[in-house]
C-alpha cells in the first residue's frame, strides 16, 4: 500500500521546517523507528522517524526546501495493515510509542500530540478524505488580507478548523519567525518567536491555576550522595532524574495531570512521557520527552536523560521525542530562582516547575532546623482538575521524594 509521509508537527510552536537531508533514498527499506529524513526547525535538526516498516516509493520534497507542517515529503510503500492513517499532524492517526527489546525507546514519527497509547491498542480517528484543515470563510479572507496562502494554512491538519483568531496568531508567529522571507532569519529570534506564539496560545486558551509546595529534599539529597559515592562517575544520578521520576509516578497515580486536552475534552494518557525542559545556550528551550518515565528505574531514566541532553546539545533530536510528552517538568538548577511558575505546554494539561534546592530554616519535629528545600510549583488546566486534585498531586510528589530508595 502506498501512503503519504508528511511533515509532523513537533510541538505546538512548530509551523514549518526546512528539509536538510534524506537519510533514505527511493527503494531503500526502513524499519519502524528508523530515521528517514532530517529537518531543521527552530529547535534544531530533528530526525523524523518512520512509524512503521516499509520502503521509500518516491521523494517529493528536495533538500533545502522549507515546508509547512503537514506537507507531503515522500510516498512510502508499506504493508497493508489495520492502521492506514497516514502519519500526519495533530490528532490524525495515533501510533503508540514502543520500546524495543533493548529498552531503547523509539517513538512514532507521525502524529504529534498523539496520546501515547499502550502498545497493544491503537486508536485512530480517520481524517477527512481531503486530509487538510478547514478554514472558516472569515479565516480564509483574513489569511488573504494578511498575505498568508490558505493552502499553507490547510496543512495544519485535518482535525482542525481554523478561525480568524488562529489565522492572526499564525500570521504573527510567521512574521516574527520570518524576519525576511527567504533569507535565513536569526535562529534565536525565530525560536523566541515560536516559543512566544506557543506560550501566548497556552496563556490565552488554558485556564491555568497554580499551586506551590515546599518539599524537604533532605532524604533525597542524602540518598543521592550515598548512591553516587558508591558508583563510578558514569553511573551517577542527578537531582533532576529523581524529581522527574517522582513527578512521573505521581502523574501515573493521580488522575487528571497526564494527557492532553483536545477537542473540548481531556484525553488521559496511558503511559507517562515526561517532557523535560532543556535550556539551550544562548537562549530558548526545548522540551523533548523521556518515554515511560514512570516505569523505568532511575539508572535507565538517567541514561535516557543523558542521551537526550547530548542530542539536544548536538542539535540532533528525534521526532518522536517531541510528539510524545504527556506532562512536562521544568527545573532551574542550582543557580535558579526559588520558585518557577511554569506555563502549560499545549495540549498537555499540567507542568511542574522545580526551583533551586537551597538551605533554609524549616520546622521539623517542633524545632527550627536548616533543611534543603525544593519548592515545586504546579500549573494545571482548570478545565480538567482543580486545586484539590492539584494539591494531592503535589503532596504525592513530596511523599515520593521522602523515600528515594523506592523511586
Amino acid at each position: 500500500m502506498r501512503i503519504e509521509f508528511r511533515l509532523p508537527s513537533l510541538g505546538a510552536d512548530m509551523e514549518s521546517a526546512t528539509l536538510t537531508e534524506w537519510l533514505k533514498q527511493p527503494g531503500d527499506r526502513f524499519a519502524h523507528g528508523e530515521p528517514i529524513v532530517t529537518v531543521e526547525t527552530t529547535k534544531g535538526l530533528i530526525d523524523v522517524e518512520a512509524y512503521q516498516d516499509g520502503q521509500i516509493a518516491d521523494l517529493v520534497v528536495a533538500p533545502g526546501t522549507k515546508v509547512p507542517v503537514g506537507a507531503v515529503l515522500a510516498h512510502l510503500t508499506v504493508a497493508d495493515s489495520d492502521q492506514t492513517a497516514a502519519p500526519v499532524s495533530s490528532g490524525a492517526g495515533v501510533a503508540p510509542p514502543q520500546a524495543t527489546e533493548a529498552g531503547e525507546p523509539i517513538a512514532s514519527a507521525g502524529p504529534v500530540e498523539a496520546p501515547p497509547a499502550s502498545t497493544s491498542t491503537v486508536t485512530a480517528t480517520p481524517p477527512p478524505a481531503t486530509g487538510r484543515a478547514r478554514l472558516s470563510p472569515a479565516a480564509r479572507r483574513r489569511a488573504e488580507e494578511l498575505g498568508l496562502s490558505p493552502a499553507s494554512l490547510e496543512q495544519a491538519g485535518p482535525a482542525t478548523i481554523l478561525h480568524v483568531a488562529d489565522v492572526e496568531r499564525l500570521a504573527a508567529a510567521r512574521s516574527a519567525a520570518a524576519g525576511g522571507s527567504a533569507a535565513p532569519a536569526d535562529p534565536r529570534a525565530a525560536m523566541r518567536a515560536a516559543i512566544g506564539a506557543a506560550m501566548a496560545r497556552a496563556k490565552r486558551e488554558i485556564p491555568h491555576y497554580y499551586l506551590g509546595l515546599d518539599v524537604d529534599y533532605g532524604a533525597a539529597r542524602d540518598w543521592l550522595a550515598r548512591t553516587n559515592a558508591r558508583v563510578p562517575v558514569q553511573e551517577r544520578l542527578i537531582d533532576a532524574v529523581l524529581i522527574t521520576k517522582a513527578i512521573a509516578l505521581a502523574a501515573a497515580r493521580i488522575d487528571g495531570f497526564n494527557g492532553a486536552f483536545r477537542d473540548g475534552r481531556f484525553e488521559p494518557a496511558h503511559a507517562v512521557h515526561a517532557g523535560v525542559a532543556i535550556a539551550l545556550r544562548g537562549g530558548g528551550l526545548v522540551a523533548p520527552a523521556l518515554l515511560d518515565a514512570d516505569r523505568k528505574d532511575l539508572p535507565a531514566l538517567m541514561r535516557d536523560f543523558s542521551a537526550l541532553v547530548t542530542r539536544v546539545r548536538a542539535g540532533r533530536m528525534r521526532s518522536g521525542e517531541f510528539s510524545a510528552a504527556t506532562i512536562t517538568v521544568t527545573s532551574l538548577g542550582a543557580e535558579g530562582a526559588d520558585v518557577l511558575y511554569p506555563i502549560i505546554n499545549p495540549p498537555q494539561v499540567a507542568i511542574v516547575g522545580a526551583g533551586a534546592i537551597r538551605e533554609q530554616p524549616a520546622v521539623r519535629d517542633g524545632q527550627i532546623a536548616i533543611r534543603p528545600i525544593l519548592t515545586l510549583a504546579l500549573a494545571a488546566d482548570h478545565r480538567v482538575t482543580d486545586g484539590r486534585a492539584g494539591s494531592r498531586f503535589l503532596r504525592a510528589i513530596a511523599d515520593l521524594l521522602q523515600h528515594p530508595d523506592k523511586l
Binding site: S136, P137, A138, A139, R140, R141, A159, T160, I161, L162, H163, V164, A165, D166, R201, E205, R262, D263, G264
Partner: protein, 347 residues
Amino acid sequence: MIDPVLPGADSARTPPPAPVRLSYRDAVREALRAALRADPRVFLMGEDVGRYGGSYAVSKGLLEEFGPERIRDTPLSESAFVGAGIGAALGGLRPIVEIMTVNFSLLALDQIMNNAASYCHMSGGQLAVGLVIRLATGAGRQLAAQHSHSLEGWYAHIPGLRIVVPATIDDARFMLAAALACPDPVLLFEHAALYNAEGDLTPGLAAVDIDHAAVRRPGHDATVITYGGSLPKCLAAAASLAAGGIEVEVLDLRTLRPLDDAAIVASVRRTRRAVIVDEGWRSGSLAAEVTTRIVEQAFYDLEAPVERVCTAEVPIPYAKHLEDAALPSPERIVDAVRRVVGGDGSG
C-alpha cells in the same frame, strides 16, 4: 417657555411620564382604536370581531365605541370577506380585515395572492390595494394542527405583499398605523402566545416604521435572528447564555417582506456567527431564506455554519408535551448558539 408635550407644566421639574404597562392584546386594541379615531375611512371586519369581541378578545368594546358600521361581523367565509376588503380598499376605504388564524387564511389565499397582491402590477400601477389583514399565528396554546401553524414564511414568498410581525408591545401598538399608511396590502401577524404578554410602552413613542429590523439585545459572540413569537424565547436564551459568558445579539426581523438585508448582514459581520429561530417548518422556510442571504452576502465573514432552530416537521400536535417538543425552545436555542460559538475543538 412652552413645553409642547405638557403645556403649562414646568418641564425642568416634571419627571418624565411613567411608562405605561399593558398587554400585547391591549396594545393591539389601542392601535385599532387609534386608527379608527384618526381616519373615518378605517373599519374593522372579520369573524366575531363585533359582538363577541374577537376570538382573542382583541376588539372587545370596539363595537360599543364605534358602532356596527365600522366594526363589522362577517359570515364564516374568508374568501368572501377578504374579497370584500379588497373591494373596499379599491373603493377608497382603509379596511382592516381580521382572519381568526393563519390556517383559515388558506380559504382566502386566492383573494390574497391572485387579487390583493397582483392588482397593482396587473393594472400598471393604477390600482392600489391599501388593505391590512390581521392574522393570529403560531402554536403554544394547545389549539392543535388546524389553528397553530406559522405560515407567515409562505406569505413572505409572494411579491406585492408586505409582511409585518410585531413582537413587542411598542410594535403591537404602532405597527398597525404604519401598515395602514402603506399603499400595498399588508399582512400583520400576531402570535397568539403573545397576547397575554405584558410590557412597558416606550414613553414618548408615537410611531414605528415597518421597514427595518431591530436589535433587541446587543452582543458580539453570535447573532440570533428571529421574529414574532420566538423573540421572547430568544431573549430568554440570550440571558441564560450571558450567564455563561456568551453574549449574543438578538435581531428582531419585524418585517419579513421585504427583509432588512442590511441589518442582518451588518450584525452577522460583527459576530461572524448566526442562528436563525423560526417557528415555521425548516424546509423551504423563512429561516432558509435568511440563511441564504447571509451566505450570499456575508459568506466571507462566517466563522461557523449557520444554524437554524425551527419547528419539527409535523402538523402541530395537540398534546402539551408533544407541542412543546415540536417548537423552538430557549434550551434548543442555547444549544444551537453553543454549537456555532464553540465546540469545534479549534485551537
